[in-house]
Symmetry: C2
């Protein structure tokens, strides 16, 4: 069912410093910061040959990243995202096998403009898993 | 400098359960467990089209994963691994730019039989980064 790893999302306390690390220490292809007000994040994309890293920083008062950074002030991996062909088929398979999906179970439009859902991390080895329909 | 994302390593409290989740809930290509006594882990490889997920469980008394699972009983992402062409060049660049590498600074032979080193997570957004020479 799942296809490619679409991205790893890392919440960072200082977006400029994290961008500089990836650019200067790791020599990676680092983009410019982009505000995504609908999703409460400011994001920098790090393009690797086979996938992406997204450096996330809170934007606005209701950012989903703010609480994570309060608990993890140094930052940390916030979620990983796997691609699926059909988000509703994926959801039904997860629910059928006993997993829980966050929210009301309906896919939402994610930060890339595509339908996404999140699987409950307690059911998945403490790891927040996003599925994105591509 | 860094190339592909080689793998994401997820520490899991129950390797059979995690394997079944990835196989049955996510429909992924999940291998058989492999013991790596030299590295203190039992590992299951999940092969995605563009990278790998490694599900790690402690093996033996001195496993580097045991402490992580004590702090994170549900499991969690333990590290991410980026490929580099030359591990010593990579180390020198990191040190020159002010990062810290774990241990004595000399690359070790990692679980895939290739030279690796780890960057201090406090310098990298709370995220343990492995570099592997490929």
């Amino acid at each position: 069912m799942i296809g490619r790893l679409n991205h790893i999302a890392i919440a960072v306390p200082d977006l400029d410093a994290a961008s500089a690390q990836y650019r200067d220490m790791l020599g990676a292809d680092v983009g410019a910061p982009q505000d995504e007000p609908d999703h409460g994040v400011r994001v920098v994309f790090v393009t690797l040959p086979n996938t992406k890293v997204e450096l996330l920083h809170p934007l606005g008062d209701a950012s989903p990243i703010a609480g994570f950074l309060q608990k993890n002030p140094a930052g940390g991996i916030h979620h990983i995202c796997y691609e699926v062909d059909d988000i509703r088929d994926a959801r039904d398979r997860l629910l059928d096998k006993g997993a829980r999906v966050l929210g009301d179970g309906e896919p939402k439009i994610g930060a890339h403009g595509k339908p996404v859902l999140f699987v409950h991390p307690k059911d998945f080895n403490g790891c927040l898993v996003e599925l994105e329909q591509v």
